[in-house]
Amino acid sequence: MEEKVKSIIEKYGSDKSFIIPILQDIQREFNYLPREALDALSRNLGVPPSLIYHLATFYRAFSLNPKGKYRLNVCMGTACHVRGAPQIADYLERTLDLKAGETSKNLEYSLETVNCLGACALGPILVVNDEYHGQMTIAKTAKVLEGIGAKVEADE
């Protein structure tokens, strides 16, 4: 891990003002910001851990916890909101037994929300990993969940 972090830092010429892009690269590499990676960053870039954690908790793009295999992202932008996104989010929270922002213990599912994906015409939108599902209803959401192996309440 130390080596990986070092090579990312070098890519930015060990320049402290690039700390946010460096964190973004670390996040992309590991899918989240592992503690050891942040320790390595602190040692190698010469910035205190307090500053790193200040940044990592301020910006939404960063996560200190690992993410699930399936990342479900519900758009909560205004357009999706007035078209019923809250119902979809409620349904997902209930069915996956997760709150928005949480990841299931078995690291299968992460439930997240985002404010506008720029595809408002298709609202409400659910993105699973990088795949967009538009004009969602509860029935369609149930199908998507079944497709990724989640347990959905039986029909009959």
Binding site: T78, R83, V114, L117
Partner: protein
Amino acid sequence: MNKLESMKELASLQEKLRKARDPKKPCIVICAGTGCLAYGTQKLIDNFRAEIKKRNLQGKVDLRTSGCHGFCERGPLVVIHPKEIFYQRVKLDDAAVIIEKTVLNDEIIDRLVYKDPVSGEKILNEHDVPFYKKQTRLIFGQNGQIDPKSIDDYLAIGGYSALAKALGGMKPDGIIQEIIKANLRGRGGGGFPTGWKWDSTRKAKGEPKYVICNADEGDPGAYMDRSLLEGNPHVVLEGMIIGAYAIGSSNGYIYVRNEYPLAVSNITLALERAREYGIIGEDILGSGFSFDVKINRGGGAFVCGESSALFASIEGRVGEPRQKYVHATDRGLFDKPTCLNNVETWANVPLIINRGSDWFSSIGTANSKGTKIFSLVGRINNTGLVEVPMGITLREIVFGIGGGIPKGRKFKAIQTGGPSGGCIPEQMLDMRVDFDELTKVGSMMGSGGMIVMDDRSCMVDVAKYFLKFLEEESCGKCTPCREGVKQMRIILDRITEGKGEESDIELLEWIGSGIIDGSLCALGGTAPNPVLSTIKYFRDEYVAHIRDKKCPAGVCKPLITYSIIKDKCTGCTACARVCPTKAAYGEKKKVHTINKETCIKCGACYDACKFDAILIE
């Protein structure tokens, strides 16, 4: 690729590329904006490619993937040149039939043709579709003509001519005067006169000077900046280079929102290509002027769209705004003179340089010139991006271009200005849209989000939605914003749960005015607007929640019940099948019932019922 050493070389390259574009040659243009891609358009593109290869049509038929055309509602969109046949809602496996019939045999495929839902008329050409016809697509219109990944496409339609004109024959001061005379105002929200901002930055002491493009686009429900950056990155770059030359800056940044990966990759590619041609970098087009741009991906914080927070973020700090007693034009990024403009503002610059300030200022109203791109979303038939001249009425946007409200429902309000803006009621639909008029009615232009709401949208819920958003996004530096917004949200929670008190409305107004006066930056300074404007125009709805414990729009869960309208229920069992708690039940072909005790008001039955037999009240 050869580096262009002079304006002359640029002109001859443009000419060559323009001539190489045979206007009679068939060309299939596929919209590959984010909206259409979300419909699965990549598959359609692959199918077209494969089909062209299979039939050995390479060289005879061109294929172009363009940026967003704006009519996202009807995607996937395909336009077939030279006749500009407009196909919408194209199926992913339609590639073969389109090539066979339309491209090779000039036949129209009826089911793909757009039918005007109002008149029922079939419309063959893209530019005749009312959605487009009623717009003035000065900036956005180029999206359909180019592949954003190809600098040659942009050059072929005359791209970078404004840059050559500016570098070749205009003095920096002359350019600034031209922008001032055009009366271009910032499209990022505040509407500050762009020319004066450039002028101050030019005159400020300190080196180096920075020029920044704000592509943070945090307004949840607005996506025009994204579509410009994705669909026409070079026009933004061209504007920035001209601005940098006028201001005397050789360092630029583009601060782009983290959630916009396609925009990041298209602008990155555009920069590389422009650098190869010598359009950006050292000694641009042999003029002696040098300028380069770095791309900075945002960290996903709404407040980073604010100028001083944005600077902090680029500098590698948390995005907290600072006091504005010094202007950014004097001390901005790294404490140096900085000019920050919005994506759309930059995109207007080449247009003004090419066609002159007199032409530009002939469009619009007394103090708002040119066009503005809005994202028209929510409960509207034609969702999409629309570019209109300043001064157009809201009614024309909603009903003329937007095609009105789906399912014949009733228009209730339109929200403009995002989280800083307000809701405008029906009786004001004939107002003219410009910077000053919108501010006068308690809303604002903002970045250009327009969210249409009908009688099934609850205004208290919408106000609560924006406050929740701002509560999460407040940086927390100053107390009125951090605590005040939270308290207002708690009061709204109470009201929407049926626990509101008569005095709550006054309390909201009182806290709101405190937040406006006491906040450090405009996030807090405008945060109460959505609440205050809905209280102003929709007080009845607040009163209904508080006094009658009812949500007239049927949105606020604790205040509504679901039941079945006996006369309409056919006993189809659709509701019983989807209900997650088995609250909806009944025998086949008999009227169903909803058990109010176990109903969790999730809305599944309402979605599933084909006979409108579910009553929410």
